[in-house]
């Protein structure tokens, strides 16, 4: 692995709970690496001119396409997580961190908790 690809990726710890883990191979904790720079519009080909730093909106799409195993409608809606899913970045409510616009840093821990399950 070259130096440039090292510096161009972000390592993250992802956790799913509250029942969401069932959509992700019933595994609560995942470690992954995503590119530090991503296309502004998700799904576009990478280009030097139209990039942005990887943010949580990108991460949500990335999880959908790479880790999610079933029932996407229980995870995503209108380009973000479904209402009723709480997101925490390093144990802080993502509503205090700019929600989807939060730019991910190396070593960040992102937790997704579903509140939709009854008791």
């Amino acid at each position: 692995m070259s130096d440039s690809s090292e510096s161009a990726s972000v390592s993250l710890k992802i956790e799913f709970s509250g029942g969401l883990e069932l959509l992700f191979s019933n595994q609560r904790s995942h470690k992954l690496k995503i590119p530090a720079q991503v296309p502004k519009t998700y799904g576009d080909a990478a280009s030097d001119s139209d990039n942005k730093p990887a943010d949580i909106t990108f991460l949500i799409h990335y999880l959908r396409d790479n880790l999610l195993k079933e029932r996407v409608e229980l995870f995503m809606e209108n380009g973000t997580v479904r209402p009723g899913i709480l997101v925490l970045v390093n144990d802080t409510d993502w509503e205090l961190e700019g929600e989807g616009d939060y730019v991910l840093k190396d070593g960040d821990e992102v937790v997704f908790i579903s509140t939709l399950h009854g008791g």
């Binding site: 009723g84 509503e95 579903s114 399950h117 008791g119």
Partner: protein, 361 residues
């Protein structure tokens, strides 16, 4: 972006935004305000008095797990003087309730509270697995809901408690308000926001989390690392409630105060006396002694339908007529053991209407 400081203590880093107020607060202040608001709900409604025996309806899910933890905390902090118990109902759903009951058993150890588990099997002779095998997945929530309500009261009688508290939160209550409006169920709309309900004879039931947002309950459980179980029931969830819930979550995303606003709307409805007068008077079930608005309570009706292989008779009037046309209930069907309610006022009425059943005095 520099971290924001807590709006309450102005010292620590804010870690969550309260949906009710929009305030940005730190973890410790969150614990304090969450617990204090529940305490205020309890004291403003005078829910308990010292010496009360209180059962927490415990499913192992997030709401009842947080409720058990908070009730224990507040009982110690403010010296309520309550005897607390955990009461769980085992509906007999393999792969769902059996797992969640393991969580309740751990809670029993963690919170050192006595636990009583009462099963549909021992009370009705039917597990939900057996019921679904007969009725299918369409109407099974009706059976489960009716059976659970009565099972909780009967479990509470066994424990000798005065009061059952449940983990219903603000989101649940707002959902119920919406559902009652959509169904035109004025009677339920009038009482669904009450924090405490009590027939003259039955055990009190109340909802200390009536004003607690689901988001905060989940955050509380997460920050406190509480042990709870989260799996959807394997039988079809109540579809109508599901629609109300998704609608409510969409409203909350647009305007977080929507949940509390809907509860306030529900509280402000006033049912006119002449409307109330058309509602059925409560009596006791001729077969099992439980409170009922007909000769037979809903649970006995549903059970008779199951026993006679005509399960829908408890659900639609048409099917009920068909069942009645088949003749009276056979002698040999399973029935629910006779209910001995905790208060004496009812006992007299029961004895007067009940022939040949065990005495309740």
């Amino acid at each position: 972006m520099s971290p924001r400081t807590c709006a309450l203590c102005a010292t620590n880093k804010a870690m969550l935004k309260r949906p009710k107020t929009g305030q940005q607060i730190c973890r410790d202040c969150f614990f304090y305000v969450f617990e204090t608001e529940v305490h205020n709900t309890i004291t403003q409604s005078s829910l308990f008095k010292p010496g009360d025996r209180v059962a927490i309806g415990a499913s192992g899910g997030k709401d009842s797990t947080v409720l058990a933890y908070v009730m224990k905390t507040l009982n110690e902090r403010y010296q309520y003087g309550l005897d607390l118990f955990l009461l769980s109902i085992d509906e007999g759903i393999t792969g769902y309730r059996d797992d969640s009951l393991e969580t309740v058993k751990r809670n029993q150890q963690q919170y050192s509270m006595p636990l009583k588990i009462l099963s549909y099997d021992e009370l009705y002779g039917w597990t939900m697995d057996a019921i679904v095998a007969q009725v299918g997945k369409k109407n099974n929530c009706t059976f489960c809901g009716v059976f659970r309500r009565q099972a909780l009261d009967r479990g509470a009688t066994v424990l000798g408690v005065d009061h059952i508290v449940t983990g219903h939160n603000a989101d649940d209550i707002a959902e119920t308000v919406l559902m009652n409006i959509m169904r035109g169920d004025i009677a339920r709309l009038g009482r669904c926001t009450a924090i405490c309900t009590q027939g003259e004879d039955t055990i009190k039931r109340s909802k200390p989390f009536k004003y607690a947002y689901e988001k905060e309950i989940v955050m509380y459980a997460y920050f406190k690392k509480l042990d709870y179980f989260s799996t959807e029931c394997i039988y079809s969830p109540d579809a109508y409630r599901g629609h109300a819930r998704v609608f409510l979550k969409d409203l909350e995303a647009a305007r977080p105060s929507a949940i509390i606003d809907i509860i306030h709307s529900g509280e402000a409805f006033e049912v006119r006396e002449e409307v109330k007068a058309t509602q059925k008077v409560q009596q006791t079930c001729k077969r099992c002694g439980y409170m009922s608005s007909n000769d037979l309570c809903k649970a006995c009706t549903l059970l008779e339908g199951l026993e006679r292989g005509m399960a829908n008779s408890g659900i639609t009037d048409r099917a009920r007529k068909k069942l009645d046309a088949e003749g009276p209930a056979p002698e040999n069907i399973r029935t629910i053991p006779f209910y001995n309610p905790p208060s004496s006022t009812l006992v007299i009425a029961v004895e007067a209407t009940n022939d040949g059943k065990p005495s309740t005095s």
